[in-house]
Symmetry: D2
Subunit: 343 residues, 4 copies
């Protein structure tokens, strides 16, 4: 290859023409294995809750529009990402507050951590929120959150903000009032789509499940009953994914949510996958090792496992993890890969 | 055209060569509208039940293999069809009896009319049968029926026997014993697939829903709740189709089952469709006019509407109809057509 | 079981109520293997052509609407079927004639046997017909056939008439004139859909391939080139199916057409499948054994293999068979089954 | 809201816990319309070719692994992106050179600008490269490029590098030799999949079209013939997308390639879409206005239109544009949106 000086001058001329030499960066662009700034990390719920309550004193839900502490991956500070492709945050709505109605291209999930019956309204359907409930806000669905109870409501938000940004496809609007009108009774989407029957002439429109509420009571019971008959996967225990019952696909087009049960004493075999995954330890206690990093977890702690880092759990008390990743995107694009065991 | 005699001789020579002149039959083969031997008919449950109980004295379930009275369309006597493409029958299993285990290419549905807890077993899962329950026996699923209660169990069978025959694709086998072993707990298929989550690594195999049991209690409640919010269709009232929650398709590949609610006083607008449809009046009372034919119905009566005959219901008492047709086949083949109103 | 006399009387009472005892017919309805009236048969082209020309003197194309000799399966005389689910016939249009424009629910394929440039027009696109061309007339596409050359045109028709009849879904209409107007240039459907690109905003409507013409020259070359690199299947030689390039499905929703190449000397291993299949020996010579029946064939002979009969070919001269069956239907309904070898 | 100082301290404590206040960044994360660093830009082929030839003197293809000038969007210097989600570059292989064999998760397309018969080999199939040819290197397909002619070969590369990076899913490997063995004849993938027939038992595996080569001669003729009958779209002229003939999907899972014809004198109406698009002016001359930016183009110039910027073309000489974007991804995720006209 030619002399460094000559090259440097050439590269400068390239830059002036909005061009660059691939050979200097090819190895970083196309890596032999996933190589990500994303790092394993655990957020202690107890600590985060305290900060969240402090935020509650600092700013109202209305002022904030959304009073959320973003969980920022320590490998990507300032980027509002928990993994390279996903955003997560902890949201607080205090008694009497409303987080005003808006809608956007970004898909959102809520996984409720504390609630005594606060609510979110999605496209006119008011959804009561109870701990462990999984709630979807599909793309462009109007949504506002309210708390008419006397206890704070706190949930984990998961959104595909980085994906929508990577595709430059963000649209958003505000509703003229703080709250949209409630036009559908509680349970409307479940009654129409989650009971084994659907209206005969219904035609799918959006990309997400028309079911917007998956109550924990029902999901937890299904999990328990499957756990009672099925052999746990050595890596994953009993893992079930939330589905759209009108298509069988993941419940959301860009985010793949699941619930995972592991018995006390379970020590999982190493597992890697290309979908960096966010977990909430909703029930139980245990430890997780991700590569060289290890942390313990207790109820409501959140942790993240980057793409292709080997993960292993050791379960002290019977555990239920809620989790989500960008797996639906990777599957649709042919990029998803997983590896069980040590190979 | 040539002289009749000459033609006749020619046609005979054609027949000797396994050939025939299309022009003599084209108009019968390719008709401007559906022209079927199928006729509208209603079977009174009270009468059929009496005959069924008589059959119960004549032959045991085991001798009969299946003690069923075929509901034969009066336009096609001796052909074991209720519509051109479907078979229906009323099956009785007396206390203490077993209808022995077998399996076959034909898909079957059961809609339970009378039961105090008899059961059917499908691929190792024992399913308790209660009135109004909809149960699937997918292609090649082992199934046997038993009655350990003190009351007779009676249900409506719907099968795609004529379709499988038209395609010459029938395979069947007997299980070596009367009953197959029960290997899965009650509710197994619902727990795995009907609660909004499915095992993450589950891969679809068969063509039917992996959910084999749709209890009436749940379906009826969904129907009631949808009826409470949605405007009834002028022709169909509130009609919901049973779906496979892992695909959103009809619950069966060849038969499209549904539940239809109509309020007291409802008079439906004329409706035609190419899928001849079998109905069970499960709740309520009313009258139905099919073309020039009219009949009334009360709980558990069965009636059939042929392809493209205009149908209208007049509802005396709030009604729930269960129904099924070959619509999934027609949709897959691009043949389904419907027409609302008088045009 | 009870006395025959008592039973007879009971069965009569059942018949009077449009009911019948399943246990007397169950074994015929649900058979352990396909049991069909369909029989293996071969039609000699030379003989059929002579009869067809005689038909040409007896009746004009216009009088006949379609001057076709139906190939009737000898096991089902008078039923206008070549297999249980499909119809086939040989059609003749003489120089100067027109087979007038109509359309219908039935899907049709044409496989051209003799032509020097006659044509068929499908939804405004005029298609020149040359020997070996495969042409589709989708459901409800207007079509008329014409012959402005000085030679007769003869082709094999394949239609799903028995399927549409089994579903009672036939609609048909005549165009007010003998010929529909030609509104699209030759090659229109191929230019839009068969060249690796499709109009960016095109949305699929019908159930069939939007490509209506698959010329033999192109198909034959593809077959030859694949045959030059791929190992022939022991049962099927090199068999390629015609596809809809906008979906990858079979080119027709109800009929599965294919082309099959076998080298001279090839002796195929036994093969069974549930889709009774119609073959045209388009090139080459050979013998085929179907169960106990054996026949030889030469160019343009037609033969039929019933469902689940074992078939074996012995090829004397390099052969190309065109064939079709109801396999797309069976696949969609989960009924297709095949078995290679002697098991 | 509380005092700035207090907030600042709080935010610092949040940062220490890998958390951040959403309310400070929400407006940037979820924008009312796409707001991207991507800028409109045109690269003059004449200039780029000169730089590319200079690179040819600076570094060999083998040293470089790939001797490519990345076309870097001027709004995102140093990021190796032409749009937010896609990479593009101009690649040169000189006579006698080989760009060594490797494979990776990233999908690549090549659009040939200059060639007198150089070649690329994809999974054992050697593909001759001629100007205007569109060639796919699917995910994980081995590929190497060679030039045994006496003229340089230059093509445009399009890859989904930023998408794979956003998903952290990159895997790559080198082949032990410079060139993989050629195991399939020229035309192999086209013969098997692009001629209207596919091998009957072929089962899809990868996510991309099994056809890897779309020669310009055929595509150009299809475009011309469609242009001869269809009305040009006011915004897009005649735009046809490259498809996978075994599925009807876009030819690639992550990149949507198309060819667009516009007649001389054509002035397109404003058009916006969420898929930032890379164009090559392959034939003709014209001007394009993108928002406030305007540039002219001549053969082989490359230009880029960011997401949601209004674009209008004025065509001086009959033009053919090749283009590509991430539209297949946006469609799969439910994010694609387009707007015609000025609204």
């Amino acid at each position: 290859m030619s002399a460094p000086v000559e090259r440097r001058a050439f590269y400068d001329r390239l830059a002036a023409r909005s061009a660059a030499p691939l050979w200097e960066v090819l190895a970083q662009l196309v890596t032999p294995e996933p190589r990500s700034p994303c790092r394993p990390h655990r957020w202690r719920y107890a600590e985060m809750r305290e900060l969240l309550m402090e935020a509650g004193r600092l700013v109202t839900a209305k002022e904030a529009e959304r009073r959320v502490l973003i969980l920022e991956n320590p490998g990507m500070p300032g980027e509002a990402r928990i993994t390279t492709s996903l955003y997560a945050g902890l949201q607080l709505v205090l008694p009497g507050e409303v987080a005003p109605a808006h809608r956007h291209s970004q898909s959102a999930l809520r996984f409720v951590l504390e609630s005594e019956g606060a609510h979110t309204t999605v496209d006119g359907e008011r959804i009561p929120m109870w701990p462990g409930d999984f709630i979807i806000t599909p793309q462009h669905a109007w949504h506002d959150h309210g708390n008419e109870t006397s206890a704070p409501v706190i949930w984990l938000d998961g959104l595909d903000i980085p994906i929508v940004k990577a595709l430059d496809a963000s649209f958003a609007e505000h509703w003229p009032e703080d709250e949209q009108p409630v036009t559908r009774p509680v349970g409307h989407s479940r009654d129409h789509f989650a009971r084994g029957l659907v209206p005969v002439d219904w035609k799918r429109s959006g990309a997400a499940s028309p079911v917007v509420h998956y109550p924990y009571a029902e999901a937890r019971e299904a999990l328990a009953r499957v756990a009672a008959t099925d052999e746990p996967d050595p890596c994953l225990g009993i893992r079930m994914r939330y589905v759209d019952p009108t298509s069988g696909d993941w419940a959301m087009p860009t985010i793949g949510p699941f619930l995972q049960w592991m018995p006390a004493g379970f020590e999982s075999a190493p597992y890697r996958s290309t979908d960096a995954t966010v977990y909430v330890a909703f029930e139980g206690r245990g430890r997780t090792r991700v590569g060289e990093v290890e942390f313990d977890w207790e109820p409501k702690d959140v942790f993240v496992v980057p793409s292709w880092w080997p993960v292993q759990h050791v379960v002290a008390e019977e555990a239920v993890l809620f989790g989500f990743s960008d797996r639906p995107v990777q599957e649709k694009l042919g990029l998803f890969r997983e590896r069980r065991g040590n190979r």
